[in-house]
């Protein structure tokens, strides 16, 4: 592979050692070689990519300063809309959908010079933990093709792991960035809720949905976050909070930072090798000068039930828009009511229908208080757990997932077992705090294991600093 880091690519283009166009062609060649066995991409947008690459090359030829992501080949989870480029959300109901505008995060990447190679496979409407719910084809884990890459951003993680893109964007509603990052052995960040605009992100559960980056290293992730973060008037939930220079802060020492460890993340169901790898990683943070402090997050066991009520309730409302009238698939029918039903029946896959049913049930008269209101109250308790813990510590360390990547087909017929794959990740979505997954070793089958770190709202700086220090420390070891 040619230059594989963002800064390396930018300077290679600036110094005329390569061109953005040549690099884009190299990556497309690699995608054509590797992707048939992986299935990370749903759509390639070569015309758009090469036009952008030509713009960068013209800047370089004229000796002008290049923007921060100049010529960097990236790819986008297919739940973010791209003007003129098919966007499916992994669903047949949007099979032929060509959006008329760009997602803000995508537009910001392109404005910073990134070259968008294509759109990445995912679970339908980001609902799943294995990418087996894609209506097109499943994604295979590049580290072991008999295994899932995780989900729902399985294509985003696999594309980085297989070096088919330098960085990718994914979305995380209950762990959909961090869990696949862990399964594929790459870095994945879910920022604070409100840190990155959701404008143009196809909505699954609006109060839990986040956009975030994947890359091979923490530094690349920091560079992408710096590009996509910040207030966007098109999303009223994007926060008016200044964006620090995450990259400049990376090298600051982590000595004396307090790292919380919660026993609730090390209980029954945690694979022994994962536990050992994460405990070893925490020990490494102690060696780097952090103080390890026990904390308690007592409501953790209620996170999955809370999540599956809140997320499905919001999904049932968000997915009501797919009615076959303005865009997407439409079934043939004799009257309007039948058209809605047959369109939704034919357009949605089983998991999407299951979640719409669960969410509709939880919101329906007679059950609203028992399920939806109850879950919103427990969400408050879960958030308070973190508020209390962050009075004592700067970051919290935990496993990203209870197990390494499971086999394709292993959990497809047991929705509850699949939901439990998110047991350590959904809490950060409910509370809105940032979380990152960093590779922290492998099990005896060479399957990657992820260390998860959480930080306070809008404290991605500390989160990235600790993750970077850990990554550098194990690289040198």
């Amino acid at each position: 592979m040619p230059a594989s880091t963002i800064d390396g690519i930018r300077s290679a283009i600036a110094e005329r050692q390569t061109t953005a166009t040549a690099l884009a062609h190299d990556f497309y060649t690699r995608i054509r070689q590797e992707d048939p066995e992986i299935g990370a991409f749903l759509t390639l947008c070569e015309e758009r990519a090469l036009a952008q690459a030509a713009r960068i090359d013209a800047l370089a030829a004229a000796g002008k300063a290049l923007p921060s992501l100049a010529g960097v080949p990236v790819a986008i989870k297919d739940v973010m809309v791209t003007s003129g480029v098919r966007t499916t959300a992994g669903s047949k109901i949007l099979d032929n959908f060509i959006p008329p505008y760009d997602c803000t995060a995508v537009a910001r990447l392109e404005a910073a010079g990134a070259v968008i190679l294509g759109k990445l496979n995912c679970d339908e409407f980001a609902m799943g933990s294995s990418t087996e719910n894609s209506a097109y084809y499943p994604v295979h884990n590049p580290r072991d093709k008999s295994r899932v890459p995780g989900g729902s951003s399985g294509g985003s993680a696999a594309a980085v792991a297989a070096e088919m893109a330098v960085a990718t964007l994914g979305s995380d509603t209950g762990g959909s960035i961090r869990q696949p990052a862990s399964f594929c052995g790459v870095v994945g960040l879910k920022p604070t809720y409100g840190r990155v605009s959701r404008y143009g992100l196809i909505a699954f559960a609006s109060s839990l949905d986040h956009i975030g980056p994947f890359a091979k290293t923490v530094k690349e992730v920091a560079l992408v976050l710096r590009t996509i973060a910040g207030r966007d008037p098109m999303d009223s939930t994007s926060a008016e909070v200044p964006v620090p220079d995450y990259v400049a802060e990376l090298e600051k020492p982590i000595k004396n930072l307090k790292v919380g460890v919660a026993k609730e993340y090390f209980g029954a169901g945690l694979d022994l090798e994962v536990r050992t790898a994460v405990e070893t990683a925490i020990q490494k943070l102690a060696e780097l000068g952090c103080e390890v402090v026990p904390v308690s997050l007592p409501h953790t066991e209620f996170a999955i039930p809370t999540y599956y009520i809140v997320a499905t309730a919001e999904a049932s409302a968000n997915l009501a828009r797919y009615d076959g009238v303005r865009y997407g698939f439409r079934a043939k029918a004799n009257n309007l009511s039948e058209m809605y039903r047959l369109t939704r029946d034919g357009g949605f896959g089983m998991e999407v229908k299951r979640r719409i049913m669960l969410g509709t049930y939880a919101l329906s008269a007679g059950y609203y208080d028992a399920y939806y209101l109850k879950a919103q109250k427990v969400r408050t308790l879960l958030t308070r757990d973190f508020d209390e813990a962050f009075k004592k510590v700067d970051v919290i360390a935990a496993p990203t997932c209870p197990t390494p990547a499971f086999r394709l087909g292993e959990k497809v017929n047991d929705p509850l077992a699949m939901y439990l794959a998110d047991i350590y990740t959904v809490t950060a979505n409910l509370a809105g705090i940032p979380g990152i997954s960093v590779p922290c070793g492998e099990n005896h089958e060479k399957l990657p294991i992820g260390l998860q770190l959480f930080a306070r709202h809008f404290d991605e700086v500390t989160l990235l600093r600790v993750a970077h220090a850990y990554e550098q420390a194990i690289k040198c070891a």
């Binding site: 008329p100 009223s236 008016e240 039930p305 809370t306 049932s316 303005r326 004799n334 109850k374 939901y419």
Partner: protein, 112 residues
């Protein structure tokens, strides 16, 4: 609370889903298994806990102000300031499954 066939039919109706007989049987099984798991939430005493609908209240709300002014952060600038322009007509209907170029066409709504 056990979900019944009748509940599945009722909820499918609310959600504008038809579902095959096989899908309904799956839904009955899955909803009961998931809701049984969710039922553990009732172990928690939450009478005096405020519900949390979203995270943005934490950073957006201006507690020094009264009434709806407290939530000024949530004003839709995109709508208020006209940032979100209407799509041109031809673009708006471009993805439509059925259009006469002016309107979205749908099957007959009122039977007479």
């Amino acid at each position: 609370m056990e979900v019944t066939d009748k509940d599945v039919a009722y909820v499918a109706d609310l959600a504008n889903l038809e579902l095959t007989d096989e899908e309904r049987a799956h839904m009955l099984r899955d909803l009961n298994s998931i809701l049984e798991y969710v039922g553990r939430l009732s172990e928690l005493e939450t009478d005096n806990v405020a519900p949390m609908a979203q995270v943005s209240d934490r950073y957006g709300v201006d507690k020094s102000r009264q009434g709806s002014d407290r939530f000024a952060y949530a004003i839709r600038e995109d709508v208020k300031d006209g940032l979100r322009k209407s799509l041109p007509h031809d673009v708006a209907v471009k993805n439509a499954p059925d259009t006469d170029g002016t309107f979205f066409e749908v099957p007959k709504v009122i039977e007479r």
